[in-house]
């Protein structure tokens, strides 16, 4: 088809289809909305200062942006050659094999689930605080969390997605607010003197070499979602150009915005006081950088950002379950749709998980911001880090079999550097997981949470093996997602590569 389309004049069909397609602004908006900037700037960054006690966070965002740019190079190159490029496990299945692919699928499902439920831990307190201060309504964080949970569950069942325009507008507003707060904070540094020390590379290891791993996991959590452009691959105009351009643009924008915000918070409170200030103020550490109507606008946008992120990750989890159900890796009931094309089972399964977690944390009397939002959120980010690392290795192996006319930098050098750096970060993070969670090194959470991924990976390997042995036709379609159906029919014509 491709040579035909290049040589023939544009037909009525190709012109009509081109009109429907998304340009760079639309794809960029899609990516940034998934990243939920204010959730990170007001939620993750202050919590990171408070929980880890580390001050190198601004530098971490810059360093990780560079590493992820290397990752993105190989990732984009491979995305051009595979179907179902929106999901990491597809890359890993095509590169490293279907059994590792199945393991990656379960790791991804676990990571995205962590990320989704963690958001309730931020929404609850933020809503409770805002309601108490502005509306005089007193309620517990978990009551608000449950309220949000109920709304998300219903919206998920009604197949409601926040429309692209609304989401785009909210995201743009979030970025404007963050930049405004940043400028305001940098303009009023503690002691009247602005220092760039927090941005320098030495800040990454000032508390010990291993803490770079911790800082990097926090930064990865902030960047999670930047790589989603290939999800829209078929929908984009000139995908070969649009997808990479929007991805690098997103990385750049996110990196600068977050590094700037984290720096402003540190500069405004004073580098040696920012940890204490963050512990005391939480998201207020960002809101308080500005004055006038800015803090209040920021607080309301924070809530909408959290809500949009909760819905986005809810959708992300059920879409994964849907694709895996379509392939047959997970029970087929997850890929069944009810009226209005709603995958009810997949949606409800994710909702049930959320409810269980909120209930467990509420009953245990845990700290929502620190224990639920930050600890589970960074653990989700850690899972995404593992996937980035594994995907880089998959890219190298995929192109080693057949270079497919991609340059050496894209198919080997960049992914190799990324794989080494990301794996190194993962190892450091595991060794210092206690610092990440703000708990004593030997405590249960510090090994149990990373071990959860080990368990998911092992379960995935076992599942892949079982499928290979007992249902070989399903084994063939692992990694194809929505394309599983056409692959199976395609075997009629002699199979596809």
């Amino acid at each position: 088809m491709s040579t035909q389309a290049v040589l023939a004049p544009p037909s009525a069909m190709s012109r009509a289809l081109a009109r429907d397609r998304l340009g760079i602004p639309a794809v960029l908006a899609f990516i940034l909305a998934g990243v939920a900037p204010l959730t990170v700037a007001a939620g993750v960054i202050p919590s990171a200062y408070a929980t880890t006690g580390l001050t190198g966070i601004p530098a971490a965002f810059i360093a990780v942006a560079v590493i992820l740019a290397l990752f993105a190079t190989g990732y984009m190159a491979m995305a051009r050659h595979i179907t179902n490029a929106g999901a990491f496990y597809a890359f890993i299945a095509r590169g490293l094999g279907r059994i590792p692919g199945t393991a990656a699928a379960l790791v991804a499902l676990l990571a995205y689930s962590f990320l989704q439920v963690a958001l309730y831990g931020a929404f609850g307190p933020a809503a409770a605080g805002l309601a108490a201060a502005r509306l005089g309504v007193q309620a517990q964080w978990w009551e608000w969390a449950l309220g949000a949970w109920a709304v998300i569950t219903v919206l998920g069942l009604l197949r409601v997605d926040i429309t692209g325009r609304v989401l785009g507008a909210l995201t743009a507003a979030e970025i404007v607010v963050i930049v405004a707060e940043t400028v305001s904070g940098l303009a009023s540094p503690a002691g009247g003197h602005l220092s760039a020390a927090a941005l320098s590379p030495s800040a990454l290891t000032s508390a010990g070499f291993g803490t770079f791993g911790v800082l990097a996991v926090v930064a990865v959590l902030g960047f999670t979602g930047f790589e989603q452009a290939p999800v829209l691959g078929e929908e984009a105009k000139h995908p070969r150009r649009t997808i990479p351009v929007t991805t690098y643009l997103a990385l750049g924008v996110i990196g600068v915005v977050y590094a700037g915000a984290a720096w402003a918070m540190s500069a405004h409170a004073g580098n040696s006081h920012v940890v204490a200030a963050a512990a005391a103020q939480g998201p207020g550490l960002l809101f308080g950088l500005g004055s006038g109507g800015l803090p209040q606008a920021a607080q309301w946008l924070f809530l909408s950002s959290l809500f949009a992120a909760m819905l986005a990750f809810h959708n992300c989890v059920w879409r994964y379950a849907f694709a895996l159900g379509r392939e047959g890796v997970l029970p087929g009931v997850l890929s069944r749709t009810g009226s209005n094309n709603i995958p009810k089972t997949a949606s409800l399964a994710q909702s049930a998980t959320g409810l269980a977690v909120i209930a467990a944390f509420a009953v245990a009397g845990a700290q929502p911001m620190q224990d639920l939002f930050f600890d589970l959120g960074t653990t989700g980010g850690f899972g995404v880090l593992l996937l980035y690392a594994l995907t880089s290795v998959a890219v190298i192996v995929f192109f080693a079999r057949n270079p497919r006319q991609e340059g050496a930098f894209s198919r080997l050098i960049a992914p190799a550097l990324a794989a080494i750096l990301l794996t190194g970060i993962a190892i450091l993070a595991v060794m210092h997981y206690g610092t990440l969670l703000g708990v004593a090194p030997g405590s249960a959470a510090a090994w149990a949470l990373p071990a959860g991924y080990g368990a998911a990976a092992l379960a995935g390997l076992a599942l892949g093996l079982v499928i290979k042995v007992r249902r070989p036709e399903v084994y063939e379609t692992i990694g194809l997602g929505a394309h599983a159906a056409s692959f199976q029919a395609g075997t009629v014509f002699g199979g596809r590569s």
């Binding site: 009509a16 429907d20 209005n340 929505a482 159906a485 009629v492």
Partner: protein, 232 residues
């Protein structure tokens, strides 16, 4: 502006419509349209893009069942040898296929046709007497298509049921209809007829020729991809 009288050059969907009734128009897309909407209110049971994609698949299936087009191994849509110019001129969709500079992949056809399939099929059903157009209460709203007779609108369900009943002979029309209905996301409507002792939709589809099987699978993929990429 709502175009109720879209371009009607050669190729009305029903040049000689039989009187409307329980046996339907004999066209797969018409049956799928009725299956995909409530038989009383006419409200759609599917998201717009899923419905459009399913109907696009059905429109192509009609041409395949008539023996006019087929799929190459690379899934491009091509004419079957022996199709006359006269036949092409009489069918709007065949004419569109002929007007393309070269064979295009079925996925491209599904995307292209999905944009207007629901409208085109609804207009044809109105002509054949199965639907009537009711103005909306809000001025300048598009209004909607409502079934003239709920029993006629429900009849396609019976055709699907016969595809899934092992005691009844299987026709290509009903197997294709069942397959396309499932691909569009209407499995929940077919569930009541899928029993252990009966045929599953997969079994029915497996009895079709390779071109139709591929078409139904590609329709499924296109609908799923729309779900996964958030554009429904």
């Amino acid at each position: 502006m709502h175009e109720r009288h879209a371009c009607r050059s050669a190729g009305r969907r029903h040049p000689d419509p039989p009187a409307p009734g329980l046996s339907g128009t004999g066209l797969v897309a018409d049956d799928l349209y009725l299956l995909g909407h409530d038989d009383r209110s006419g409200k759609p049971l599917l998201q717009p893009r899923a419905l459009g994609t399913g109907l696009a698949g059905a429109l192509l299936a009609e041409l395949m069942l008539a023996g006019w087009i087929g799929l190459r191994p690379d899934s491009a849509v091509v004419f079957v040898p022996g199709v006359t110019q006269d036949t092409v001129m009489r069918h709007a969709l065949l004419k569109q296929v002929a007007d393309e500079p070269g064979p295009a992949p079925v996925r491209a056809w599904l995307r292209f046709l999905a944009r207007s399939a629901a409208q085109d099929v609804a207009l044809g059903l109105e002509e054949a007497g199965y639907l009537e157009h009711v103005r909306g209460r809000v001025p300048r709203s598009q209004g909607q298509w409502v079934p003239v007779n709920p029993d006629w609108a429900l009849a396609p369900m019976l055709r699907v049921r016969s595809a899934l009943d092992p005691a009844r002979p299987l026709t290509a029309h009903s197997a294709a209809l069942a397959g396309l209905a499932a691909a569009s996301g209407l499995s929940f409507r077919l569930d009541q007829y899928q029993t252990r002792a009966g045929r599953s939709v997969q079994d029915a589809v497996a009895r079709l020729g390779p071109g139709l099987r591929e078409l139904i699978a590609q329709t499924q993929t296109a609908v799923d991809s729309a779900v996964l990429s958030h554009r429904t």
